[in-house]
């Protein structure tokens, strides 16, 4: 029996039907066509499916679709305002903080969560906050530089 779920994704009211066993990640990707959120492991170990769920950073593969009832969800598709990139996105590009780019959506969302919680992280704090987002290409060096630069730029703008 599928459940009828009403939720909010990136500010839009969204309704969908889902099996009780379906994860939020499967709903986003396969039912709603929102493939910006990536699957790297399906077990909450890689962070590629990071989304912000009622203000909290979660792995969408560890949340059930039915749990989205009445929730407010932010995905990578909602980070930029139309064609205007978020500072975090601009800094990732400026610092070449992505190579293949598969972990990037999750990292952008996680970085946003980090900087909302802690606008002035130390490098160590950034590294520990983002430890749940695996990147195999970059060795994290340029990611951390992008995050620190984004934090500094956002503090100036605030």
């Amino acid at each position: 029996m599928k459940s009828h779920i009403s939720t909010t994704i990136n500010g839009d009211s969204v309704e969908f039907l889902c099996e009780p066993s379906q994860t939020l990640l499967q709903v986003l990707r396969n039912d709603l066509g929102m493939t910006g959120t990536k699957e790297g492991c399906g077990s909450g170990d890689c962070g590629a499916c990071s989304v912000i769920f009622d203000g909290e950073l979660v792995c969408a593969c560890l949340v059930l679709g039915v749990e989205a009832q009445g929730a407010a969800i932010e995905t990578v598709e909602g980070v930029a305002a139309h064609d205007q990139l978020h500072v975090i996105q601009e800094k990732f590009l400026e610092h070449a903080a992505l190579q293949c780019g598969i972990c990037t959506p999750g990292l952008i969302v996680s970085t946003k969560a980090l900087l909302e919680e802690n606008p002035s992280p130390t490098e160590a704090e950034a590294r520990y906050f983002l430890a749940g987002n695996l990147c195999r290409c970059t060795g994290y060096d340029k990611i951390i530089k992008a995050v620190m630069d984004a934090a500094a730029t956002m503090r100036q703008g605030a």
Partner: protein
């Protein structure tokens, strides 16, 4: 290439053209394509590491209304029982086919046995229970020692060791032996004052790309079938699928999706031919995905290895002889990177007397695939560890010891050619004066240093550049972009055409829209495809000159083209590229440039890495506290992405050295097939990775490029291994230097 050239775009840090889509979630990767009417495939995998399939019965699945198609080995017309009976089977595809869907025998835990397609992914997975398989379980062979023992169970009854002095008479798990030599190894050791001889081993590790394998396909009887997949080489996917399914190349179109990491692991096929069989049988588009567990258990990891190294030197630091015996696990089917392992092991050294022997060994583990400089990290780890130990024994600084013996222009390699101009000495000098090496070693910290060598390749690339009537353009290439290569292509074309890089849009075209391109691998893309881009742009420059000449009523020889502007040498007239394009209609139609090349002259890239490590003596936990990667790029087209290759390679090597390994039960079940337990480095595990680009130009490339993708993974194994050895005051001979292993060494020494 000796004098420094002034560049306008090369060497700048531009924003990559595909960046916007990748930071906003718009870029489409392997699992991101869904099609109308699409169904899902799933694969039944072996629960055993080694077993005969006594019975494979799909009748219950066939009878189920949920099951829309089934695939087994017998659906490969190129190799199935019928083809074998009538002698038309393709022997060369047998291992590939048997790895994709098992034929009468399963050879590793997770080996694919059959596939099912159903209306949803969940339904397909559930329907796998309807396939009945009866196994006769055999003893698994899980390491090199067991595989080569006289009593070992034999994986392949017909496999005879190739490359022996006397032809083999009995089946063996050793598929091949090779030997390379130079000079007189006995005399070399006789001339040595000090000799180090030691055995080393490295574990099975995985490339660990974050994107699992996935594909969406549509079989089409009346035109080309379509395969969408993340691959380093879509032309190679096309060739393999065509051979497996007895199709012509023109009957298949492969679209390379964006690719979420590969590192060599996405250079073969697993799901694609199976999905196409299911699509053909069901008449529906079919999508398949591997789970992370499937990726670990059933895609190709990198070989575990055992190496014995002997190095001799005089007290003045001259190395007189180097000898290696190298064993590589190939996994379930023959074909480890034993060859390149043997060829690279001692190449950083200009030594008169060398002897290398290599063995390719099959075991009940997944068939290995390429992993960044395949074969070299294992063998060079062993060689560099021994070299460091030797340097210490004779009391020489490891950099001075290497400088004394460094390979350079004219060094005769063990595998054939003499080296051209190479940058090892320049890297060693850069290491010597680096902020890291000149800093004192902090208390309780061990420091290690190691060099690395990788050949790099060139090969076939095809490029078309189309200019638009307003002077913007499209670069149509066929090299999947894994790490920002589109940016380099754009910059190289812009340099030649004298336009802004952003005015040229690079596209990685499918197999129908550009001629054949070799796989993105061997660190070849910026070198070879870059060379094709340059030649295509130069082709355009010639046409622009001719068009301008036509407008000025002069000959093309009277026209110069520089910085995007054509100049009439017999007058004052000038025309910009955009102006020539705008009037192309009147001078013969629109303008395209083209190059189809087989690039020769790839320049090897040497690297030197420095690592500082702190070890917690209570737990055996290691921390990398400082790390520097120095490498010769020839010429860095986009320095940020060159540094990124150094840093990424370094960190994969750090993972290999410190944590990563396949852990097997005695039954051959991989016990850590997930990112929680197979622990790749996290952001919190690492310091900054300092990257120093050395530029010793490769004279065979128009801008001096050497490939940089692979070398960076080689030095970390011994740089880390040596740093750990220094930190705990004991030799390291086995990777990974995981806490339990280090603790054991520390306890034993107490």
């Amino acid at each position: 290439m000796s004098e420094a050239r002034e560049f306008k775009h090369i060497g700048q840090r531009t924003i990559r053209p595909d960046g916007f889509d990748k930071v906003t979630g718009k870029a489409n990767y392997g699992a991101d394509l869904s099609l109308p009417g699409m169904i899902w495939g799933a694969i039944l995998r072996s629960p055993h590491a080694h077993a005969n399939i006594k019975k494979l019965d799909v009748s219950r699945a066939e009878a189920s209304p949920d099951v829309l198609a089934i695939a087994t080995f017998e659906d490969f017309p190129s190799v199935n029982a019928a083809a074998q009976r009538d002698g038309t089977h393709r022997e060369g595809m047998m291992d590939t086919a048997c790895n994709i869907l098992a034929n009468q025998k399963v050879l590793y835990h997770g080996h694919a046995v059959a596939a099912i397609a159903a209306r949803s992914q969940a339904a397909a997975i559930a329907a796998l229970d309807l396939i009945d398989v009866e196994y006769e379980v055999l003893t698994p062979v899980l390491n090199i020692d067991d595989a080569i023992s006289a009593t070992a169970p034999i994986l392949h009854e017909t496999m005879m060791t190739q490359g022996l002095a006397e032809p083999a008479t009995e089946a063996s798990n050793v598929s091949a032996r090779m030997e390379l030599k130079k000079g007189d190894i006995e005399a070399g050791f006789a001339a040595a004052d000090v000799i180090v001889e030691r055995a080393y081993d490295t574990p099975t590790v995985h490339q660990g790309y974050i994107e699992p394998h996935a594909t969406t396909v549509v079989f089409n009887d009346n035109g080309p079938s379509m395969i969408w997949c993340p691959t380093q080489g879509h032309f190679d996917v096309r060739a393999r699928v065509a051979q497996l399914l007895n199709l012509e190349l023109g009957q298949i179109k492969v679209v390379a999706s964006e690719i979420g990491g590969g590192f060599g692991g996405k250079t073969t096929v697993y799901l694609e031919p199976v999905a196409l069989i299911l699509s053909k049988k069901s008449g529906r588009p079919v999508k398949m995905e591997m789970s992370r567990g499937d990726v670990f258990r059933a895609s190709g990891p990198a070989s575990a290895s055992q190496s014995r190294i002997k190095v001799g030197a005089k007290m003045d630091g001259t190395i007189t002889a180097m000898q290696a015996t190298l064993h590589y696990e190939a996994g379930a089917f023959q074909g480890s990177p034993m060859g390149p392992g043997c060829m690279t092991v001692f190449t950083p050294y200009d030594v008169e007397n060398l002897y290398v022997e290599g063995f390719d060994v099959v075991v009940n583990k997944p068939k290995v695939a390429a992993y960044r400089a395949p074969g070299a990290p294992q063998s060079e780890f062993a060689a560099e560890m021994a070299v460091n130990e030797l340097a210490k024994k004779i009391g020489m600084d490891p950099i001075e010891f290497r400088l004394k013996n460094a390979a350079k222009e004219g060094t005769q390699t063990i595998y054939g050619p003499k080296l051209k101009v190479v940058g090892l000495e320049a890297c060693l000098e850069a290491a010597k004066s680096s902020p890291h090496y000149t800093a004192p070693i902090p208390e309780n910290v061990g420091r290690g240093l190691a060099a690395g060598f990788w050949f790099n390749i060139g090969g076939q690339s095809s490029v078309i550049i189309n200019l638009n009537p307003d002077g913007t353009g499209t670069i149509i290439e066929g090299s999947p972009d894994i790490g920002g290569s589109r940016a380099s292509m754009q910059m190289m074309a812009a340099e030649i055409l004298g336009v802004a890089p952003s005015s040229l849009n690079p596209i990685v075209a499918d197999t129908e829209h550009v001629a054949y391109n070799q796989t993105t691998g061997g660190s070849r893309t910026t070198f070879a495809t870059g060379m094709a881009v340059v030649e295509a742009a130069e082709d355009i420059v010639e046409q622009l000159k001719a068009r301008a000449a036509a407008m000025w009523n002069v000959t093309a020889e009277q026209v110069d083209f520089k910085d995007g502007v054509a100049q009439n040498l017999s007058g004052e007239d000038q025309l910009t590229l955009a102006e020539i394009c705008a009037s192309a209609e009147k001078t013969g139609g629109q303008i395209s440039g083209r190059a189809n090349i087989n690039a020769r002259g790839a320049g090897p890239s040497f690297a030197v890495h420095i690592c500082d490590i702190k070890v917690d003596k209570e737990t055996g936990k290691t921390d990398v506290v400082r790390y520097t990667a120095i490498q010769d790029a020839g010429k860095a087209i986009h320095p940020s992405y060159v540094e990124g290759q150094f840093q990424g390679g370094a960190v994969q090597g750090i993972g290999w050295a410190l944590n990563e390994e396949y852990v097997y039960s005695k039954d051959g079940i991989m016990e850590n097939a997930g990112f929680l337990d197979y622990r790749i480095p996290l952001a919190s595990d690492l310091p900054e990775i300092e990257a120093i680009i050395v530029e010793v130009p490769n004279s065979f490339h128009p801008f001096g490029v050497r490939g940089v993708g692979e070398t960076g993974i080689i030095p970390p194994l011994a740089a880390v291994g040596t740093a750990v050895a220094e930190a705990i005051g004991q030799p390291i001979s086995s990777l990974p230097c995981s806490p339990p292993k280090i603790l054991k060494l520390l306890m034993a020494a107490r």
